[in-house]
């Protein structure tokens, strides 16, 4: 009971409500009916016709949200999700195309290759911080661009499907694909990602490593005092993060249309949506899953809303960002309470009228 009232009063609830209200104001301002628009989002994303798309989109969003939440749990921000995902995708494509193994084995190997490629590349960003002192935020972001360019080059030249108008690889051999649920577009990838979420939840809640990660995120000096080694942790977390991003890429390639198409993985902006979800949930495992689902609903429902009500889908993107803006102040809150040494605002005496 206390938990329920607590959840209702939490800043997350507040931020989401505030976002919805501001979104409604936008809608009224442009002459649209907010109830119809929001209704269209919900039916479009969760109705019988939409739930498949929501789960498909949710696979990628949740995957990227996990990828970014894991380092975020320790206070590290990985902005290089795009590059890691794309490298995972191209690695999976190469493996799927050229490994002379029976299809099921090729699928497993392609997934593994995707994970390995993403992990290795993210580890480079971690090394940039550990060895060269380039902040992770910047190193991961800057490294992302060459990675996407490299994958694009591969898809355009050495791996290009002959005769195609698109920069895409050949279609993977028959059977080298993730199994699909019924006639939907939802693949086994969803299960893989959910499994990753469960593992994350388990590690976070029940293991020594998860405990150390959480404590690092809450107070890195405290963790260091107790012997948690930061550089090693950064490397491991980034590799895990990149590995999951790579997995998302591999899942993308091993799903319809079963090939690597330049730009297809990055254009929908899963990395940013995933980061937003991770931020919204403060990287907590269960919260990240819920937030990722929430954003998948917004994304798919937004498109459906545009089809049925003429309200631009960008509205849902606006909603997403507003929620995060409202939350940003809260995100810092626990850390601020912790820093008794860095005297907070109350310490700042109010200066008197300053003559300039």
């Amino acid at each position: 009971m206390a938990r329920i009232t607590g959840a209702l009063r939490s800043p997350v609830t507040f931020s989401i409500l505030a976002g919805l209200v501001i979104g409604a104001l936008f809608l009224v301002g442009t002459g649209a009916d907010p109830f119809a628009a929001y209704g269209a989002v919900v039916t479009g994303a969760l109705g019988a016709d939409g739930i498949g798309a929501t789960l498909t989109t949710g696979t990628s969003v949740l995957g990227m949200a996990l990828a970014l939440a894991i380092p975020l749990r320790a206070g590290l921000i990985n902005l290089g999700g795009d590059g890691q995902m794309v490298l995972g995708g191209i690695a999976a494509a190469v493996t799927g195309l050229y490994v002379p193994l029976p299809a099921p084995l090729a699928v497993v190997l392609a997934l593994a290759a995707g994970i390995a490629a993403g992990a290795a590349y993210a580890a480079v960003a971690a090394l940039c911080e550990n060895r060269f002192g380039v902040p992770l935020l910047v190193s991961s972001l800057l490294l992302s661009y060459p990675a996407t360019a490299f994958a694009s080059y591969l898809a355009r030249y050495p791996l290009k499907e002959p005769g195609s108008s698109l920069p895409q690889t050949r279609r993977l051999p028959e059977g080298v694909a993730l199994p699909v649920f019924g006639s939907s577009t939802v693949t086994l990838g969803l299960l893989l990602v959910v499994l990753a979420a469960v593992v994350y939840w388990f590690v976070d809640r029940r293991t020594v490593a998860g405990y150390e990660i959480r404590m690092t995120g809450l107070n890195s000096r405290f963790a260091a005092y107790a012997g948690v080694e930061r550089k090693g942790l950064t490397l491991r977390l980034m590799a895990t993060s990149g590995g999951i991003a790579g997995l998302v890429g591999a899942i993308g390639v091993l799903s319809f249309p079963y090939r690597f198409l330049d730009g297809a993985l990055t254009a929908p902006g899963y990395t940013w949506t995933g980061l937003t979800a991770a931020l919204l949930a403060a990287a907590a495992p269960l919260g990240t899953v819920l937030a990722a689902f929430f954003f998948a609903v917004l994304q798919v429902g937004g498109l459906a809303m545009e089809r049925t009500t003429e309200v631009p889908r960008e509205l849902t993107q606006v909603l997403q960002a507003i929620v995060i803006v409202f939350l940003a102040a809260r995100l810092r809150f626990p850390r601020r309470r912790g820093g008794a040494a860095e005297k907070p605002a109350a310490q700042e005496p109010v200066p008197q009228g300053e003559s300039v």
Partner: protein, 327 residues
């Protein structure tokens, strides 16, 4: 599986028997994309002809393309029109799953043929070749170039034949190509402009602009240097009079309207190729109303004469233009 939901305001059951419904799905936001605008024109024409209704679903990436096609299939209109080669895989999948649903693909076709998939493809390279010939004839520096959105086979259709056409009429011509690239290649007109500038700096005085929204950037750059540019899809001369020489016209509207007509007439499952011969591809300069087009080519009747001759050879099959996308 295709359920009719509340979205089907023009559902075949409720409206008059001959009222038809069409859904067009775009691969990218329509925005200033003349090619997509024309496709929409085509579907509107068809809707009017059949006193039916039309819907346009705009996509922005592979995920939304997939969702829009699915939504279109679920709504089961008479014809679903898909514009762009991005849809090839999707249509193949959906056509197999929904054999009763009619699809019309513009600009591309599925690798396998389906009874319920009709296609209209264009031979842009023929038109671009002619534009290249104009450029070859008009160039003073003997250098021509092209600015493409990306280095993809489809966009190569706007650069390689341009060079070939120029060399056909002026063998000493040298040609080069720039790709906009960057983080949003279809929209980054600043980069497009810089790419054009780098061509201009080399002395290029005739530029084929196939840079999507970046075309405005190319025109601006050419105008500033007193050079000339070539537009695509529609008559782009009015956006930079005195700079745009001519345009490779792609009559997507005609292709869409004719394609729908064919499907409704029971002649589905065919591929129609539009080139110079069929009149689906042309140059503004070769059409009626050149004089009011604000195109530079209107002042070069002599050039037009030679280009017409070239066109006739292509139409007659005496001359074949290489298709870069077929490599």
């Amino acid at each position: 599986a295709a359920k009719n939901t509340d979205t089907s305001d023009a559902g075949s059951g409720t409206a008059a028997k001959d009222a038809k419904s069409f859904t067009l799905v775009t691969p990218d936001p329509v925005g200033q994309n003349e090619f997509l605008k024309l496709a929409i024109e085509g579907v509107k024409t068809a809707a009017k002809a059949h006193s039916g209704t039309q819907k346009v679903y705009q996509s922005s990436d592979t995920a939304s393309q997939q969702q829009n096609v699915q939504a279109a299939v679920d709504a089961a209109p008479d014809v679903i029109v898909l514009v762009g080669f991005e849809f090839a895989d999707l249509v193949a999948q959906q056509a197999e799953a929904h054999p009763k649903q009619q699809f019309l693909m513009i600009d591309a076709c599925t690798a396998k043929t389906f009874k319920n998939v009709s296609c209209a493809v264009f031979r842009e390279h023929e038109g671009v070749y002619l534009a290249g010939a104009e450029a070859g004839l008009l160039s003073k520096s003997g250098k021509v170039g092209a600015v493409d959105v990306l280095d993809t086979p489809q966009f190569r259709r706007y650069s390689d034949p341009f060079a070939a056409g120029a060399k056909e009429v002026a063998p000493k011509t040298s040609a080069s190509t720039r790709f906009v690239g960057g983080q949003s290649p279809f929209d980054d007109s600043a980069r497009a402009k810089e790419q054009a500038n780098s061509l201009l700096a080399k002395g290029t005085d005739q530029i084929m602009a196939a840079a999507a929204a970046g075309n405005y950037g190319v025109f601006e750059a050419a105008k500033a240097k007193g050079a000339f540019a070539y537009g695509v899809d529609v008559n782009q001369c009015p956006s930079a009079p005195g700079t745009v020489v001519d345009n490779v016209i792609k009559k997507t509207d005609v292709a869409v309207a004719e394609g729908i007509e064919q499907v409704l007439n029971g002649k589905a499952g065919q591929t129609v190729s539009y080139g110079l011969k069929e009149g689906g591809i042309s140059l503004t300069g070769l059409e009626d109303g050149v004089d009011s087009s604000q195109c530079v080519i209107a002042d070069h009747k002599d050039v037009l004469k030679k280009v017409e001759a070239l066109r006739d050879r292509i139409v007659a099959g005496e001359l074949t233009v290489d298709d870069p996308a077929a490599k």
